[in-house]
Amino acid sequence: MADGRELDLQLHLLDRQVQDPDHRMICKVDDLELELDATGRPYVTAILSGPRALGPRLGGRLGRWVAAIAGRLATPEESAIPRIDFGQVTEIGSAITVARAAGDLDVAPLEDWLDRHVIARIPGSRHESE
């Protein structure tokens, strides 16, 4: 599908919304993982998402803080930056559509991340629902 299409990584992929086949939002494309082929040309292998992927792109002190805080708050099982293999991508348009639902992917949206690491630590934050 769409082989041979021309794409600019910054223009067409970075910062786009990632959605599942039912158009439910999963995450944003915060960075892209690249590998070199046999001729030395980089190609996209995965979508990277979350504050630890976004931080280095922001650059400067703010970027370092975002990445450092997210790294500090990550649990041991979250040591790697959340990624979606490019093999899951089925369509590249105004949003990036992937083949699997959010719950089946090892990617936590920023909202979930903030809920787990920030909001949940505020005393009383779970009072209404518990």
Binding site: A2, D3, L9, L32, Y43, V44, F86
Partner: protein
């Protein structure tokens, strides 16, 4: 390697003179087949001497849009370089991308 390792990286010529900065990576979907489609593979490095931001797609011939905006963006990027990936070299442990060949005609 990540896209952010390349986008924003300074570009120098073989003598070390600063040329500009990488503003985007132009790919073609002709890379290894991954799932439903071929992976985007870098063909060209887009280098801006001024770093006045994105071209917003106005460098493409088929791009539609207000002609005044198109003219303005193209004027701001009048010295944009589009360099084949093969004509560049990553410095070992360095921070710059070195141009070793000519830009795309």
């Amino acid at each position: 390697m990540k896209a952010s390792d390349l986008i924003g990286r300074p570009v120098v010529d073989s003598t070390g003179r600063r040329i500009g900065v990488v503003t985007d990576l132009r790919c073609v979907q002709d890379g290894p087949l991954r799932g439903a489609m071929a992976a985007p593979r870098v063909r060209d490095v887009i280098v801006s001497r001024r770093r006045t931001g994105s071209m917003l797609g106005y460098d493409r011939r088929d791009q539609q849009g207000p002609w005044l905006i198109r003219l303005l963006v193209r004027w701001l990027h009048r010295d944009l370089l589009i360099v084949p990936w093969e004509a560049t070299q990553l410095t070992d442990g360095g921070r710059a991308l070195v141009l070793t060949g000519a830009q795309r005609a």
